[in-house]
Symmetry: C2
Subunit: 358 residues, 2 copies
């Protein structure tokens, strides 16, 4: 299918968290019906969609039944099991496709792909044993970061190897799983570029965002980041190399380190991304609409911002002063409909708008 | 209940058309669950909400069951039967309240209220018979407009009385229902002000929009309208007089005639309004979010636009070139998820954004 999906078509979304919810809302705005698949029937996205399908991820029959009602399927989460993608693909196109998942679900495969695509990464080494870790640290040095190859997010499955850190402890702390040791980048700041690519290979980027993390979780994104035209052009080249290399369809994000004006790729998210939430209120077409456009085979929307924005995540109890936040005149408040507030859980975000410096 | 509703609360919406759909989406963005009541289970709003309750409008038991699950109830449509409001009110607060409905469901009552509130209207007369119509035309003159007192919208239930028009035909054309004859206002342009009022009586207006109708249906709204500070201040005064008079809670719109710089009130819509659709993409807080904030007992959002906007309704086959519209860079496309395209049916709208002249 390369024809654009007509309004009224069904967009299937694997995963019912906040990203799925914001995708569902964007789909509705364009006249689509969103169907959500999630093991939890009361998931946030299911409560803003036409239909929710609930079954375990390994229930291939349930996924096929869901997919049979969809005109295209996408996902909010890159760790969707391969078997679920297989089951979905038997009934409807899945966008982005398998390559985007296979090359980003595993940090070692991902870093190797990034280099092959002609982009820079930090130095890294494969670690399958304590002996591997010892050799890797001897080569890469300290500080460095040990990360599980799979299923890590928001700082989970990571251990920092500092001067004096015990390697056996680091290895044990990540459960002795297949891992990668990465050099620390001596970066001045963390940036990200959110891009979208169509079925036909058209690609557009939003302006660079500057990101502040804490405890492994994104806290604040400021966009458009202060950046020279040259740096924006470098980011576009990186997005093109990666988007084309993945044959990606939809939105993806590339996390970058700015090391003295050189952009080093940290990681790829083959989906809408927290550092793109600012686009919802600062651009005519935000990242969620952009993703729906791309997977529906539509042309991409305008990525030029009309406002500058500071996005702040509301994590855990950060959401408690929701009434005060709702009272601030230049704040756009987004809450995700999660039933319980838990430490470290993303409950919402705020977009604080500013006039754009032209 | 005067406490603001916490995120996670349920906003009930009577009516599942496009206004209900856009309200449901706005509610989801603020972390609420929207429940829709509509006789049609496959209605547009039901497909973007947490739950849809479907039964005839006169099924009081069904409305009570729906209302029993809601923390507050609102409506997308001012012609909700009074019995449905009674049934809903027995279980949850309904906002806006009965007064807003009673004073706007009937054109004669509405015009009388507007005058009592200190605002100007065109000359008008009650018409309950052909003899009444003859007397009214003798006093008010031609051209004038005969309108049914109730259940008119988008130009339905109206007859223009021109030079030479047969009065018996005009009277027959509206079915001989209780009616009102209105003088024609010699207006230079049609404007509207969309306002919101909170439980506490706080009121904010969006800037004036200039509206172009055709065939009794709104086609284009341009906002902010060219207007002096004095005219904007007059519009605010009118909105305050009407909002306070209705003891309204939520968004409402006042349609105005600009007659040589004097604002004459044409009619009141006690709900979100088509001429406020431009705010969705041109303001940090659009009219749908504003309405949800007001009925939830939250403070009002910022009504200052960051962009200028031209809103164009997509009526009937206007929606056919959706792919071309989606390709225009400064167009925000909104489609309503209606299954069938029919002449005169509102299928969607586009908001074309421009830099704001400051």
């Amino acid at each position: 299918m390369t024809q654009p999906l007509a309004p009224g078509s069904v967009i299937g979304i694997l995963g019912g968290g906040q990203l799925g919810r914001m995708l569902a809302t964007a789909a509705a705005e364009l006249g689509f019906d969103a169907h959500i698949f999630d093991p939890e029937s009361d998931c946030p996205a299911g409560r803003a969609a036409a239909r929710v399908w609930s079954a375990p991820w390994d229930d291939d029959g349930a996924i096929q039944a869901f997919a049979g009602k969809c005109d295209v399927i996408t996902f909010e989460w890159e760790n969707v099991p391969a078997s679920a993608i297989d089951a979905a693909e038997s009934r409807a196109p899945v966008r982005p496709g398998r390559k985007s998942l296979e090359l980003t679900q595993d940090r070692l495969v991902e870093k190797s792909f990034i280099r092959e695509a002609g982009c820079q990464t930090v130095d890294f080494a494969e670690v399958n044993s304590l002996a591997d870790l010892e050799n890797a640290v001897a080569r890469i040095g300290r500080p460095s970061i040990l990360k599980t190859r799979r299923f890590g997010y928001d700082g989970k499955g990571q251990a920092v190897v500092k001067a004096g850190s015990g390697l056996a402890e680091a290895w044990a702390s990540i459960g002795g799983q297949p891992a990668i040791l990465e050099a620390f980048a001596p970066f001045q700041r963390e940036l990200s570029v959110v891009a979208a690519r169509t079925v036909n290979g058209d690609l557009k980027t939003f302006p660079l965002a500057e990101n502040q993390h804490s405890g492994g979780i994104l806290r604040v994104s400021t966009a458009p980041a202060q950046a020279s035209a040259g740096l924006e052009a470098d980011a576009l080249k990186i997005a093109e190399a990666i988007g084309n290399g993945l044959e990606h369809v939809g939105v993806f994000a590339v996390e970058l380190f700015d090391v003295g004006g050189q952009l080093i790729v940290n990681e790829i998210a083959p989906r809408v991304h927290n550092s793109g939430h600012w686009t919802m209120d600062a651009c005519a077409c935000g990242q969620f609409e952009q993703h729906i456009r791309a997977v529906a085979g539509w042309p991409l929307g305008n990525t030029a911002p009309h406002s500058a924005c500071e996005m702040t995540n509301l994590i855990g109890e950060d959401v408690s002063p929701w009434l005060d936040l709702a009272s601030e005149p230049d704040v756009c408040l987004h809450l995700y409909g999660k039933r319980d507030t838990r430490p470290g859980r993303k409950m919402g975000h705020i977009n604080r708008l500013f006039p754009l410096e032209r």
